[in-house]
Subunit: 558 residues, 2 copies
Amino acid sequence: MSTNRLIYLPLGGAGEIGMNTYVYGYGPEDRERLIVVDLGVTFPDMDTAPGVDVIMADVSWLEERADRIEAIFITHAHEDHIGALGHLWPKLKKRVYARRFTAAIGRLKFDEAGLPTDVIHTVEARPAVVEAGPFRVQFVPVAHSIPESAALIIDTPAGRILHSGDFKLDPSPIVGEGWNEALFREIAAETPVKALMCDSTNVFSPLPGRSEATLADPIHGLIANAGGLVVATTFASNVARLKTLAEAGRAAGRSVCLLGRAMQRMVKVAQETGVLTDFPPIIPSEHATEVSRQNLMLIVTGSQGERRAATAQLSRGKYLGLELKEGDTFLFSSKTIPGNERGVLRIMNSFSEMGVDVVDDTGGRYHVSGHANRPDLEQMHEIVKPQMLIPMHGEHRHLREHVKLGEQRGIPGEIVTNGMMVDLSGDAPEVVEYIETGRLYLDGSVLIGAMDGVVRDRIRLALNGHAMVNVILDENDDPLGEAWVELSGLPEVGKRGQGLADLMETELTEFLETAPAKVMRDDDKMDEAIRRVVRQVAVEEIGKKPEVTVVVSRLATE
Amino acid sequence: MSTNRLIYLPLGGAGEIGMNTYVYGYGPEDRERLIVVDLGVTFPDMDTAPGVDVIMADVSWLEERADRIEAIFITHAHEDHIGALGHLWPKLKKRVYARRFTAAIGRLKFDEAGLPTDVIHTVEARPAVVEAGPFRVQFVPVAHSIPESAALIIDTPAGRILHSGDFKLDPSPIVGEGWNEALFREIAAETPVKALMCDSTNVFSPLPGRSEATLADPIHGLIANAGGLVVATTFASNVARLKTLAEAGRAAGRSVCLLGRAMQRMVKVAQETGVLTDFPPIIPSEHATEVSRQNLMLIVTGSQGERRAATAQLSRGKYLGLELKEGDTFLFSSKTIPGNERGVLRIMNSFSEMGVDVVDDTGGRYHVSGHANRPDLEQMHEIVKPQMLIPMHGEHRHLREHVKLGEQRGIPGEIVTNGMMVDLSGDAPEVVEYIETGRLYLDGSVLIGAMDGVVRDRIRLALNGHAMVNVILDENDDPLGEAWVELSGLPEVGKRGQGLADLMETELTEFLETAPAKVMRDDDKMDEAIRRVVRQVAVEEIGKKPEVTVVVSRLATE
């Protein structure tokens, strides 16, 4: 009997949507050789991570075992799969494998970050194989909302794993390879699939997914009938959508211009890597103002309401000399990701104020999802016939529903969330260990831990405001001058109509005059007492308890 | 020719959803007698108003003209129509009129706030008339998602206005009066309607609205088939829904218990005012733990994910001795208001982790809206046949769409947003003035202006963190001791691996040693220079520019 085992350990993306980070291992317990699949980010919000740039999985567990890692595989170039590669690679320093388009995007990121681009290796699709220790990995083309998305066949001595990546069953995705049922049947027939790790994003969508190709007619119709300037936004990486939009613009006799660096870059990379061959001609943005508005179409970044992207800029007024007005049309060929609603609605209302006709995804005419819906997932289960189903890419409720769905056709499943290490060697997945996981925040230029308290303090400052108290004591612990209070994020005047800082200073001065010596000479006691005085005044005057920072300076004779 | 005019001035609710506040005036220019319709609140979010409790319209314009106000009318008891009454009434101090249920809710609020409850007068429905200066006002029962919602007939010497309030065309709303088409035809036949001020919330919903009564069967079916404990949440004020839920629970042989003060209060007031006559018996929450889970149904507050409400409490574990587990069912009989999605999803996932089956509004089986949909609005236009249509209760895009909808059947409309005063005396609305409007924030116990800078500072603290610098100078402007830096919401260590505060202190000490005397003796120059040093270190070390507070203490010889 072999003592080797096959393990699966999600560090991100299982129990949440975003920051996909998965680990597979094979070998003797605690000496397994490891591969990493995807290193993605997720995006912060003001409620939980104000000021943070992006969020990624804490990979301490991997870092401590870097000598056991064979390679890193990236399924596709969406930020929630590749976005952390540049930030986390310096901790792991292993070879990275991806398909041509994904690798090109990765190298651009590495180049900008000053990292070595030659560690990123381009892999051809199956039947090409990457050997990585005990793993033999093949990239299987799948349709998604970005070019060259891939499922991974991960062959191990303990059996075949199919890691779906993000996918949909789209036979005509406009750009790149369509859904190839025969190929997946072949993969399952070739070697039985021990475990299917499967995208769960759309498990709650009851109808079969629609093809990217179904959008061409409605989009062409909309643009053909539009009067003034036409602007459309979608995800920059949805190159197929960009193509449909641009073709519709050209068909309506409009010059097409791409606004937004991310979008221009995606099209450029897609063309350079050969995945996009017949994109309509586009005009440079500096020429856009020379075209009459009824002959112009802009395709712009910022479908999620990002403050600095072109959509938001246009909603605030003139941008690159272009300005929307009465009679123009703005198409959101996108869905709004939960959490971004308010920002997107704010922009739609700004356009409405300009007299612009805003067309969004209501009714589903101008956008389709890039993920397999519930019946599509059932079809995938049926084709692959895995021995076990382990849902990924989903919040807990998605994973739970997906397991139920699999069980309906007799496929045993397991909800495996971030930090759960499961042994796949036997007939059913077995949880063998719980790894401490967490999140890293890129905050400015440094990575901080989500639990470091930095962000918690920021949230408290935002909710409660900040009072800073300054007290100077002489060598006898007597106050030199009066207490000084500075307030941030607090009302200047309280309910008695007097300055809040003044009232605090008065109360503190009285406290300092009467405080016993044992308090005055003890920094901790001083801190506590001053904090209490400040908060008491605040509660009485403004009904809030601010954060308080106390600085007691003790001047010694020099 | 009369010099009197009829004016309409929204101060809140027109160009946004929430904080409804409308003014009508009649009389000579700038001496019009005024009435106020609704004084509502809207709710803050972390992105724009961290730490704020509720938001309401700035009523300075009204306050300055308080002697011209005849009365305040409240259409119904939703917070976005009545929520600011207790906060703003002390600025206006006028008689308040509302129907029985609404008035009772208002008096409870006044009682808690220590305001005189006898200023709130109960009005019977039409044909009862309130005379308020030149205005004759009638309350017309309409169906909505709270008992006794009313449209207002506002008769003036310049003609009849119909102010719709929130309404839907529901012939069987379970609690209270249903949609009465004949009544509205009668109103229009009696006196031509000069202007219809109309709810626009659901103008983008293409299908006719569904009746509250359509929910009974699906909800009964769901609960009859549920195994373990059943919990349902909806808006506390949706008394009809509470009744449907409670009846379904009883029909399934379950004891029903209401959790959450707001919900208990709504049912109590509805019963006391006679609008709710046959609510099923409920058990007190302290007895709920004595009932076996398959015989218990909880109806709880917190459908929007409010942190302190029962739903969120249950998602975090045991609450009042009750705990959800595998096999229980949790029904969200509600829709999620934009901006609350992340919080609600977080709760759903917590329930999923407990093994609870979460049922939400997907598919629309368990919730209906309380607002008139697009075809319903068209029906209202057709019945009322107003001379002009002025949409309200909506973001700009809703108002714009609603004007278009009216124009399709030949009713001229005007988009009138907060602060636009229009003269309705002529055949079409004419904009006569733009009033400076804004928002007031209830922040703890004080009202602050949205533009006071308090909240802006909090947002900056949350995004950038805070550095406080303390420098003490002697009478010769020489430093006494070293600079002292305290950080909040910033990483402790920068990219060089050294303490960030230490590095700043070192740089500041060097600066203090070398700064020219003309800087050292000038507070403004010192402040600016110190700020620059701190920010420079921060940018180098952590890639962020924190907020900086500088305190320079100058010790004079005493």
